[in-house]
Subunit: 444 residues, 2 copies
């Protein structure tokens, strides 16, 4: 693809009322609709109207979310009322079974006609362990080891049905060619799975594989496995460094740079004038519960900040260091770097993180936002963006109605979907099935 043909890829990260932590308090948002599927169906339809590649749901298995549906059930209900948009579910490897995950993604991919994507995470929240009969959350490196094996089993399960295994020859009485459905006999360090999967291969071969960790292990897993990476970068320079780093890791896995799209999170507030946009930002920031925000920041950096002056810095000398963090290592580093670089007080830091928890925030006009997007896209910072509007639905409406046409005018974004599957729209090849070695299968 020549560089002038290269197009942006845009994902909408769905939440109930928006990504600003006080969005639920903002006049006009509807936090009570957080469990109302019609709310999300409308958002997905808006994203599809804007020709976005996909919508995406974060996920976890602990905590007290007031308004969060489970991703498989939610995305399947979105599939039923959309035709083109990709549907990306976060599913953690540490507390799931490969057989169930492979099957649910295959099912979602069949239901949606090839629009499923899997954001592979290892689950960073330590208390999750207690919901699954464990005393201790496996440490970061071990989780990534498990995750690699998990993804390997899952791919083998998807591949356990050859693409032409289904026959449906009524005359001959043959539904499927048994010789094209294979046991996998996977035996790893953590997983042992005989197979085959009990559902035919997904329309896309595999759902699109997405990765969102930015730690060393995360970047390596992404380089080996991922086709899309969601990341958090605060400046173009950081984004360029990350982009170059990750893309340079692909060759050793026999992959080319265009096989992995890097999409930084981008959390905009847009209005027709910059002044109006600033006003929304200030209204939102005035609604932040500072005590809760300091508590969340404390969890991120691993120090209880509640006794420190709000207008002073975080006590850098007490930081535990990245090796001691067993949760989201990449995000820890980003927050500390941001505070240091901009010399932010604790209060200022909570404000900077309120919009999108460390993703870049933007406040301005649609044209200014298109400029930023073009700048990062053309200068080695991004292949597109993971959009995180600070307010839903208004922020998504504004993006689709005002930013998308501008990006199209600049030749940066599609004017029609290129294909019918998420892979086709992302310009990613459909993976061929990898067959188990005959010797292994003979040992069944």
């Amino acid at each position: 693809m020549s560089s002038s043909d290269r197009k942006l890829h845009l994902n909408a990260f769905l939440t109930g009322t928006g990504h600003h932590e006080a969005s639920w308090r903002y006049p006009g948002t509807s936090p009570e609709r957080g469990l109302d599927i019609r709310h999300y169906q409308k958002l997905a339809q808006t994203a599809e109207r804007g020709l976005l590649d996909s919508v995406f749901l974060a996920d976890g298995y602990a905590g007290r979310s007031a308004g969060k549906l489970e991703p498989f059930t939610q995305l399947s209900a979105l599939a039923a009322v959309t035709e083109h948009i990709g549907l990306i579910a976060t599913v953690g490897t540490t507390y799931n079974e490969p057989f169930h995950v492979a099957r649910k993604f295959a099912s979602l991919d069949h239901i949606s006609g090839g629009r499923a994507g899997w954001n592979i995470v290892t689950t960073g929240t330590e208390s999750t362990a207690f919901n699954f009969g464990l005393d201790v959350h496996p440490e970061h490196g071990l989780r990534y080891e498990y995750a690699e094996e998990f993804v390997e089993v899952t791919k083998q399960l998807w591949d356990s049905w050859e693409d032409d295994a289904l026959v449906f020859d009524k005359e001959a009485g043959i539904q499927l060619d048994q010789g094209k459905v294979h046991e996998i006999h996977f035996k790893g360090n953590r997983y042992s799975v005989k197979g085959p999967l009990n559902i035919p291969r997904p329309p896309q071969g595999y759902p699109v594989l997405v990765q969102a960790g930015s730690s060393e292990s995360g970047k390596e897993l992404a380089a080996k496995t991922a086709e899309v990476i969601f990341t958090a970068q605060q400046t173009l320079e950081e984004a360029q460094a990350f982009y170059a780093d990750v893309k340079s890791r692909l060759a050793k896995y026999g992959r080319t740079p265009d096989q992995l799209h890097i999409l930084p999170g981008l959390s905009p507030i847009i209005a027709d004038t910059e002044a109006e946009a600033r006003e929304i930002e200030e209204e939102l920031n005035a609604l932040i519960n500072t005590e809760s925000a300091v508590k969340r920041l404390s969890e991120r950096v691993g120090i209880d900040l509640s006794g420190y002056p709000l207008d002073g810095p975080i006590p850098y000398h007490l930081l535990p260091g990245i090796d001691a963090i067993n949760g989201r290592k990449g995000r820890y580093q980003l927050v500390v770097d941001l505070a240091l670089r901009e010399n932010l007080s604790i209060l200022q830091l909570t404000r900077r993180l309120a919009g999108a928890r460390g993703h870049i925030t933007f406040t301005g006009t649609p044209l200014q936002l298109a400029d930023l997007i073009e700048d990062w896209f053309r200068h080695g910072g991004a292949d597109g963006f993971n959009l995180m509007p600070q307010l839903y639905p208004s922020g998504l409406d504004a993006f689709v109605d005002k930013v998308v046409p501008e990006l199209q005018n600049r030749g940066l974004f599609r004017t029609a979907y290129e294909g019918t599957t998420l892979r086709e729209n992302l310009g990613l090849a459909r993976p061929a099935a990898v067959r188990p070695a005959p010797a292994l299968e003979a040992g069944a």
Copy 2:
């Protein structure tokens, strides 16, 4: 409720082309649409047009199904295109985690506005173990012990959010009342779950709890837990005995007979004349693959029947006895009883099981079917039926267009949905949340 007000409850057991094992070969059926969600969406809409209580999906985690989606994803996509019909998913306890199952059902219940049901099974297929890292499938009694504990944890997780925990007070900045969201600190023999669940309590409190095992352990679990039971009975006498047996077990759990609906499977072929219906039956039976049918029968009764004459009986003296069966005990007994009672040859037995694997089959006119339904319903055999049309979609269309109006004319079936949730349509109370004892909670 006076007996004259008592209404039938009807469920449609969905499959791709119908419940006759050769239905996929029958002219006009579309086995290639087995993974096409629009096919099932149309079936669910037809069932809803007929005012049926619910649709239902069987499930398992092993085997080579050519056309079966995963229930949570499938039912969620059906929820999106229907408004009233209940959505019952089979989910097995032996190879799942209570947290995931509680959450997915809560999510489906929120998405569907209170229409979810859970068919609780322990999973009978021994080879399932090999897909989940185990060498041995837990034996029947142990699976039921686990299942009881699993259901208990799951209920506690649903109850971990009080019904009025959500506040969304924008002014005060309070999304939820933390004092109304409880850790459960469940510690049983198999499961240890801290909680709370990460989604608010389902609209129905709990999804409707369904049970489908007819073994001793199955009947006891049903009496303790279930609100609907799907069963297989071949004659009204057997059905009456089962009905009386199960209903008599309720009192010791403090329950009344109307808190559990007993719905035997009923697998009809209907046509305008009996002769036409017989013709369809013969066409279907002519399409059976006898070799496969004998193989399946062999698995059911625990003897390899392939060396025995088709026109002779099964070798009763070689039967392993019910204690040796670690899969579906209830179905084993039913098949053996049927063969003995009617003195069936191996071939005749495969034909009798082809229509619905042991559920009662029916071939005749809509009026004759309405007579059978009324007879069982009025004479202590059933509270309704789990409909298993031998052909989809034609068998469901015929039932909805011709049998439902007749049942309505006889005053046996609703003419409009009574409520908005599956519980309301089934006449089942919404369960109140059970609070953990304060002492337990204080030990957090």
